[in-house]
Point group: C2
Chain length 288, copies 2
């Protein structure tokens, strides 16, 4: 099986590492706009051969893991180039514009719109790791528009990687992901900014940053080149989440100014149920 | 050596676990307002004997790890009860009001104002773990007000636990900790609230929550009983951090509404230096 990965970073790189490790008789071809990524991926053994679009006709599977603005430009060309029995899937964090741009493409049936929800704050080929997708959720949109046989090939691959599948329409995907992913990134970036601004002249102060700050600000290490086009494509939903978030922060501040500590306690106590939600286990009463 | 821990949860419990493990000839006495905490701590082997304030005269070291509002009420009584050769230190996340309330106490020299910066989002005796303080920072305030011999005893203990010491005045502590700790907690609680509010009727949507959301919202699992009095005591500084944070989020939203994606890219790129700050290593250029 010939697997092409277009955009060899954390997402695509990790995926082909696992495919090579877990599936028999696979050859991994890599395409990337940056020659340094190709060289790094070759030397790390993430890909076996450098390739270009003219070789796409030999592909059985094409994984497209590039920023979502590039996705919109490249996916139609990629579909143009592949053969009729090839499945192309993306790994973009937005789905609506990607699905729209391909809706009328003559090879729409060769495309599967995916969002494997996994990652770290690191980027580039060196960030690729084994097992990134084990136990993680892969959102698939408009599955009915993909040829049945090609759905099957992709699903077998996702199963081998240990992913759980959820089907969703692109509108719902973009709306919900704005809350559970895009807002987290902005909240983290702006937290980092606020603290850096304040502490600019007192770098030693970061000695005081415990593990709490580190985990909350972790996503502020993410790649701006990847995230700017995500926010652009999902602007409307992201603005809505930001408005809700700013409103809640402002209300918290007002309670603090009004010395409403019962209100503050209740806010936190109600939000504690995030434990239950994240773990799927019953919440235990807080202990001091 | 007789070590008393008053308030046996994550902070005090973890500390006496390490003291017992790492120091010879120590007996651990536990005091807690909740009998269930005492019972749990005894059965977990965190403390050896249940005690009360009337036994404090036999203490060599007293660790006070209770919510900061209780701290203000209890620390004067604890100091009243201990002998002249006992060192009492606290582990409160605020320092100004605690130092103020003890400033004129006849046994001020027996008190060392501390903030060991470590923790997890869990609470209660069962949350106590070994090695919680290894490599972590302990902020000590107004060290000059503590008897030299008692400073020494406490520092030896902190060294045994692997902590780094930083000296700071209480005003600076409270100001800076508002940025690197208190704001993180509010940002996380309000993120959790915003997402829960939105997704109330669609619980399955949390399937979409990747590790990014989980780490950003982790602190929203923290104990409201511990955090409400912290926000109360550090109100002025916390309000200032919230204002800065809300301002930055609002500006980000405005850039998004104005389609200023270069601005958004630059915001994130500038904030990426948080990597460098947190790791103390030179930042590498982001790769897509």
């Amino acid at each position: 099986m010939n697997v092409f990965v277009i955009g060899i970073g954390l997402i695509g790189g990790s995926m082909v590492k696992d495919i090579k490790r877990l599936m028999p008789n696979v050859t991994i071809y890599g395409i990337d706009a940056k020659q340094e990524h190709i060289d790094e991926a070759l030397s790390l053994g993430i890909i076996e051969e450098q390739a270009n679009y003219s070789q796409l006709p030999i592909a059985d599977v094409v994984i497209v893991s590039i920023p979502v603005d590039a996705m919109i430009k490249e996916l139609p060309k990629i579909l143009d180039a592949v053969n009729d029995d090839c499945v192309v899937f993306d790994a973009g964090s937005t789905k609506l514009q990607i699905c729209k741009v391909l809706d009328e493409h003559p090879k729409r049936r060769n495309f599967l719109a995916c969002h494997p929800i996994s990652g770290t704050e690191f980027s580039g080929p060196s960030a690729a790791i084994n097992g990134l997708y084990e136990g993680k959720t892969n959102i698939i949109c408009e599955v009915e528009k993909t040829a049945f046989k090609l759905q099957e090939r992709a699903l077998e691959l996702f199963q081998t990687l240990g992913m759980r599948i959820r089907y969703m329409n692109p509108e719902a995907h973009d709306k919900h992901i704005a809350y559970v992913s895009h807002l987290s990134h902005i909240s983290s970036f702006m937290l980092g900014k606020t603290v850096i601004e304040k502490e600019r002249n007192e770098r030693d102060i970061f000695d005081m940053a415990g593990s709490g700050f580190e985990s909350t600000v972790r996503l502020a290490k993410s790649s701006p080149a990847m995230w700017t086009p995500i926010f652009k494509q999902n602007k409307e939903n992201v603005v809505e989440t930001l408005e809700g978030y700013i409103k809640n922060l402002t209300e918290f501040k007002k309670m603090l100014l009004a010395d409403d500590y019962d209100g503050i306690y209740n806010e936190m106590n109600n939000t504690n149920k995030i434990k239950e939600i994240l773990n799927g286990i019953p919440q235990t009463k807080n202990k001091v």
